[in-house]
């Protein structure tokens, strides 16, 4: 699998997108954009079965030299997502505190190791997406108004 040097949808997951203006010929080897959290773009508030489909218009058959490069609309396969409501899971103080423990160990202090940035971003997102009273308490506890090198989203969550 070929990984494009872009940070995924919207340049997410903390990686850079410095070369996203590049062009890549498509082959039978998948051109991948990594794993991105769907939660960044949509919040499921109601349990149920949802179908998600993607479409894009960033493919062309025309070369760089051509004056007009028509875009082709590509639709993805549908993906079925079953969202279940398990208050015992979401409101488990243990879950929020497990994430809090991980964040406390890896992501606090003045000198967080750079190789922990992705992990810290991931833990922070998991706390934010929980969206419970316990997770809010964790966000308030850890929000320090500083940019540590990753996006934790705590301030946005606190403001909501």
């Amino acid at each position: 699998m070929l990984n494009a040097p872009c940070g995924g949808i919207g340049g997410g997951l903390g990686s850079g997108c410095g070369d996203c203006d590049a062009e890549y010929p498509l082959t039978e080897t998948a051109l991948s954009f990594g794993v991105v959290p769907l939660n960044t773009h949509v919040t499921f508030r109601t349990p149920g079965t949802y179908t998600c489909e993607a479409s894009s218009a960033v493919i062309t058959t025309a070369s760089r030299d051509e004056k007009i490069r028509p875009a082709l609309l590509v639709n993805s396969n549908p993906v079925s997502l079953t969202i279940v409501n398990d208050p015992g899971w979401a409101h488990s103080a243990a879950l929020a505190y497990a994430y809090a423990d991980a964040y406390e160990k890896l992501c606090r202090g003045d000198e967080v190791a750079e190789h922990h940035f992705l992990q810290c971003s991931d833990v922070a997102r998991r706390i934010t997406y929980l969206d419970t009273a316990d997770s809010l308490a964790v966000e308030v506890k850890f929000f320090d108004g500083r940019n540590h090198g990753w996006e934790n989203g705590f301030w946005d969550a606190i403001q909501l």
Binding site: L26, A30, H41, G48, S56, A71, V74, L81, Y129
Partner: protein, 99 residues
């Protein structure tokens, strides 16, 4: 069984757009030999409310050398055509019949 689809969210615009390419023009439906593949990490399909849902997407061309992926990040903010759009629909359970 009657299933009623309700479009919950359309057009979650996930990034910016293309340059001269497709500007102000409707894209042409792609032939079937180029594929946009969407999936979840680990092929998981069940998640809790509030759980992180990791998704991945990739492009594959069954005819090598025919298609080019053109990245245009940040160049055309405010442009009309989105780079990638997600559409969601929700399958509802049929309502119970009343006699």
């Amino acid at each position: 069984m009657r299933m009623q689809n309700v479009v919950l969210t359309t057009a979650v615009v996930l990034s910016v757009l293309l340059s001269s390419f497709a500007q102000n023009a409707r894209p042409i439906p792609a032939p079937t030999d180029v594929v946009l593949k969407l999936g979840t990490e680990g092929d998981a399909h069940q998640f809790h409310l509030g759980e992180l849902i990791p998704v991945k997407f990739s492009y594959i061309a069954k005819t090598p050398g025919k298609y080019v992926w053109v990245g245009q990040s940040g160049k055309r903010r405010g442009a009309v055509t989105p780079n990638l759009v997600l559409t969601f629909s929700r399958a509802r359970q049929p309502e119970p019949r009343t006699s």
